[in-house]
Symmetry: C2
Subunit: 441 residues, 2 copies
């Protein structure tokens, strides 16, 4: 008799933890993801700011489960589901049947329908987006170095929208990249002219944190030279600038969007009840209403806290939800009733830059500064998947710290934006120079 | 009075060495490259076979010369040159004047005009090409895992054309990737069905080496399971297969081209004398005929040995040529006559796989096997640019060696080839399954 088959959609924090727990149970696990690797999202901004390499922040899923004989992986995209047949419909046309299903497909960018943002912004939710952003950012400096007049057009203005942990980390890291590293690379560019502008609609940064932490983050960023605009909304964007609701405009070629997420669009395709942000409505035990064998965890789910409010879309919620669901599947197989999910808040952290972070632990223990920063580094190192990745990241962090060097400042492929070339092609005069062998333009 | 300006086209082995030597002289150096990084080409095949990451094999040029105040860098593509005005014409429309010019733009792929090769082959001369190849190779296994019938269509056949050092290294590394690493990753694929086929037109591999080394390479590859086809030419290629001159065909989705190089097309645009392979004709002192202040070095130049034969297109020729040219520029500035370039053959090496390499030193000292392999590793480690890169590469090599793990097996962006999807889109029947919320195809 075949073992029950548990299919998990998504190899993020939630999906990996669920597969890990289920691998010890008498089930067959099939993990599906559109990429063949797990992405350690909290460190994506470090790829974008040339501190770490993609291969340190991502890990092949098959590599994680090599030793687990009951865990299989399929690279593909889920497009739909047949409740009647308990089957998933894949983009490549194949069908995957399940006995139990865990939906852990995560979140995607929310541009709030603001005009011009989706086309012009650089989001940061995947390795490819991070590499593209890195290439773009460094390209702006190359362009300014070749033609300093571009600075007045905003080529060295970098606008980050969103004052949560992601935006704060991004703004801090960009500023450090420019003033600690790139400042030594460019002779024709006055790197002190590079501006990092952090835009936030609320009246504070890190609004999920205590007011002490909020003030700390604001102070540190401003002290270090990041321009923070609170109570500020983006009205629209285009290829030349970002336009704020109050009428001001910031000329820029780089709009980084860290302002909001919504559930992965898969949630819309399933025909299930959804709540704010598209998150899937789930029972207290994380199963779907009317489908006891189907669960949703992490960012895509609207799992609730004790007060009945949706839990934050953070890694710990996904990880704990995954462990819970694995246990509920076991209970179902044993004919036992399921239990409610109880989230244990282990605290939160955000880093602002060198020596500066905020950490809040559940016993109202808060600390900021150097110690918090070390704690942040340590925690992320421990949560990284794969010993080799941990070792490489550790070495790179040590190297970057002591030498102020960020060697990964490569401009690759897609990200190569050549403002000079675009400009040249638009305004090329008839050539009059005697050029050997080149067709005249 | 302004210092003389030396412009160097190309930041490869030759360009970097020239800039390094010239940085100690009373000149201004401007180094130009279309990428903002130097590529360590001998290790590109290791990116392609998931052993190393791009950021370990490439180094930001500005990073290399951070401390040198008379060395500047411009990221851009040279399209032509005005002899009369001693000026370069850049792709972005700008002009760069020079007092001395060193052309070190290297080589590019030579597909010999064979039908279908340029469109279908995966070349290996840049970081981006290597990443694309890596993604493609691993995608074939993902496709076969999802649909084992594809194996009969050749999705696990990998054809490498060219039996020089590059092709041999590539074939050996691919085979190891499959049988030592991927074999543990895939449950539905019999990885032993994956074939690596090395095609060479001559009657031996590594024809630049001694016959002892040639025999060794052939034996080791065949012993390990690589199929070597000597005396075999490629007639044409398409998306389904490679077609050999003798009428045989090999169904495959992966054709890797390591069969020949020619001078960078820039050589054609300059209107100068060229010889076989498009290489620029140079005087014995490496200056161009009729242009004492313009030099060509490395793969793009036809620098000659004592017998008047063009030197091989290898790193040492570029590096030594660069040192020589820097000295000749100094001599010119001092009003001294120039000297001829004398190449010192320091020997050559090629690696075949784990524990197996060939090394030939000038005193006819030859050795193969484990010792040669260690020597190869050591030499490449020392020539890598940047201490951090050396440390990272060293760690990855140690890791890969002891754990048989190659963690960098990520499929990214462009390289994602989805044979299943193409197949599905071609043959999709009308859907009859009750799928919730998905538009019927």
């Amino acid at each position: 008799m075949a073992l029950p088959r548990v299919v998990i959609i998504g190899a993020g924090f939630g999906g990996l933890k669920a597969a890990e727990k289920l691998s010890k149970m008498p089930v067959e696990v099939l993990l599906i993801d559109r990429n063949n690797y797990h992405t350690f999202q909290p460190l994506l901004y470090q790829i974008a700011t040339a501190g770490l390499d993609p291969e340190e922040v991502a890990h092949s899923v098959r590599g994680v489960f090599q030793g687990q004989h009951n865990v299989d992986f399929r690279m593909g995209t889920v497009e739909g589901l047949s409740w009647e047949r308990q089957t998933l419909w894949m983009a490549d046309g194949s069908l995957i049947s399940f006995d139990y299903l865990i939906i852990a497909a995560g979140a995607s960018n929310n541009f709030f329908g603001i005009e011009g943002v989706e086309e012009n912004a650089f989001p940061l939710k995947s390795v490819e987006e991070a590499v593209r952003m890195r290439s773009h950012v460094i390209s702006q400096f190359e362009a300014a170095d070749a033609d300093p007049s571009l600075v007045a057009e905003g080529v060295l203005n970098f606008v980050v929208v969103g004052g949560g942990a992601t935006g704060v980390e991004m703004a801090g890291a960009l500023h450090e990249l420019f003033h600690l590293v790139l400042a030594h690379d460019y002779r024709n560019v006055d790197v002190s002219q590079a501006r990092v502008i952090l835009v936030e609609a609320a009246d504070g940064l890190l609004t999920a944190f205590s007011s002490k932490s909020q003030r700390y983050a604001l102070e540190v960023l401003r002290e270090r030279g990041v321009e923070v605009m609170l109570d500020t909304k983006v009205a629209r964007a285009d290829t030349r600038a970002v336009y704020l609701a109050d009428g001001r405009e910031i000329p820029t070629k780089t709009l980084i969007w860290a302002a909001g997420i919504r559930a992965n669009p898969l949630a819309d395709a399933l025909g299930v009840a959804q709540t704010r942000g598209g998150r899937i409505v789930v029972n207290r035990d994380l199963s779907l209403p009317d489908h006891r064998n189907v669960f949703a965890i992490g960012d895509i789910a609207a799992s609730l806290d004790e007060q009945g409010e949706p839990l934050p879309q953070v890694a710990q919620v996904a990880i704990q939800g995954a462990s819970h669901v694995a246990r509920q599947i076991e209970r179902q197989m044993r004919g036992q009733p399921m239990r409610d999910f109880r989230y244990r808040d282990l605290g939160m952290m955000a880093t602002i830059g060198r020596h500066a972070a905020v950490t809040e632990l559940p016993t109202k223990l808060r600390f900021t500064g150097f110690l918090a920063w070390l704690a942040w580094l340590f925690l992320h190192l421990m949560y990284l998947v794969g010993f080799r990745n941990r070792l490489n990241v550790f070495i790179n962090w040590m190297w970057n710290y002591f030498t102020y060097d960020r060697s990964a400042r490569l401009i690759l492929g897609d990200g190569r934006v050549d403002p000079l070339r675009e400009q040249a092609e638009a305004t090329m005069p008839a050539a009059s120079v005697d050029v050997a062998g080149v067709p005249q333009r």
